[in-house]
């Protein structure tokens, strides 16, 4: 049975209107996060050992292994929410391509809402507006490698530098996420932004940083400054348009002018978060380009 894909602002505000946005492009069921690639069937057991004792031992061993794995999964799930993390990695190539294009050129996109389905957000591969963790993680790793490359071309490279760059960038990311969490708490915003969402949004700036540093390597300082300026502005616009829907109240987000100190404070908060992105982008890359 096909459930219609609903779109609405926040999960807590109930009864968003059911808007049939048309079936998702992917023929797979939207409720499945990942494609089913199992080989199907367990019947690969060959009669290697016809001895009943070793058969018994094999069965017992396999049951022990599965029991152990179950227990480990349960315990691990308490600390790191593995099932929630899986949602953020349910991406495909089309999504990644479109999202990267959106990060560099967000001016033509009109509909920034995240679509929901039965109160849970749709997986990123079906909705380009949903945050994911694939691009931030890959961007972070690529940034470290590109930093190493940039330092290498200036004869400043040593293997420890990679570790130092990685931990430094990670520390700034943690600081930024903590600062955003603190300010969201202080302004008492009722939002469904989770910590992982904030990590994802903070990680999108690595794309701009990589573009800037590579342009700096190819075209010198002028190329670095121009491309970094372009990426800074586009990340600013992207962040504002994405966070506006999540932080501001519904009326203000739709563009209608809503007076009131609370909405103004939330708008300032969104702009502050968005303005911090170019600052970090410049701070983390300017020492790489000479």
């Amino acid at each position: 049975m096909e459930y219609p894909v609903q779109s609405g602002f926040r999960q807590r505000k109930i009864q968003p209107e059911v808007r049939m946005r048309g079936a998702p492009v992917d023929p797979g069921d939207p409720r499945l996060l990942f494609d089913d690639t199992s080989a199907g069937g367990i019947g690969h057991r060959q009669a290697l050992l016809s001895d009943p004792v070793s058969n018994l031992a094999m069965v017992y061993g396999s049951s022990l292994a599965s029991h152990g794995r179950e227990m480990m999964d349960q315990n691990l799930d308490r600390f790191i929410p593995i099932s929630k993390l899986k949602y953020y990695f349910a991406v495909d190539t089309v999504y990644v391509g479109k999202k990267l294009g959106l990060l560099v050129f967000p001016y033509m996109h009109d509909n920034w809402e995240v679509s929901y389905q039965q109160d849970t957000p749709v997986a990123p591969r079906f909705d380009i507006n949903a945050p994911d963790l694939y691009i931030p993680v890959m961007g972070f790793i690529t940034y470290i490698l590109v930093a190493g490359l940039a330092l290498g071309t200036q004869n400043r490279f040593s293997p420890e530098i990679l570790g130092i760059q990685a931990s430094s960038a990670l520390v700034w990311l943690i600081i930024e996420v903590l600062a955003v969490l603190l300010s969201l708490y202080l302004v008492t915003v009722n939002t469904d932004l989770t910590t992982i969402d904030l990590v994802a949004f903070s990680g999108y700036k690595y794309v701009g940083m990589i573009v800037g540093v590579i342009a700096g390597l190819l075209f010198g300082r002028m190329g670095y400054h121009l491309s970094l300026l372009w990426c800074c502005v586009s990340i600013f616009v992207f962040t504002i348009r994405t966070l506006r829907l999540k932080i501001l109240s519904e009326a203000a987000a739709e563009g209608r002018l809503v007076r009131g100190a609370k909405n103004q404070l939330r708008m300032y908060l969104t702009m502050a978060i968005a303005a911090a992105q170019p600052v970090f982008m410049y701070w983390l890359t300017f020492h790489l380009v000479r």
Partner: protein, 88 residues
């Protein structure tokens, strides 16, 4: 032009900074200091109908940090004392 301030920002430095900041918040004394500048616990609770403002949230945060740190400190002292008693 070598930016050394950026280069050595390790995770350990972050943990140290976080602990020192938390400790600084936890040692702000209620009576002697916060009440004097109008940030005491009884001044923060505004009307219940309205959403708490920034000042009330900040005061809540300070109070909860103090409570949590007290609990952590107490448990650490307990653990250290119980470990130390095995020396004899």
């Amino acid at each position: 032009m070598h930016n050394s301030a950026n280069m050595a920002f390790t995770l350990y430095a972050l943990i140290q900074t976080a602990i020192l900041f938390t400790n600084a918040i936890a040692v702000l004394h209620e009576e002697r200091f916060l009440s004097k500048i109008g940030w005491g616990a009884e001044q923060g609770i505004g009307g219940f109908g309205d959403e708490p403002g920034i000042k009330a949230q900040l005061l809540n945060l300070i109070r909860s940090v103090r409570t949590v740190m007290r609990g952590v400190f107490f448990c650490t002292v307990l653990i250290l004392m119980s470990v130390h008693s095995y020396d004899y």
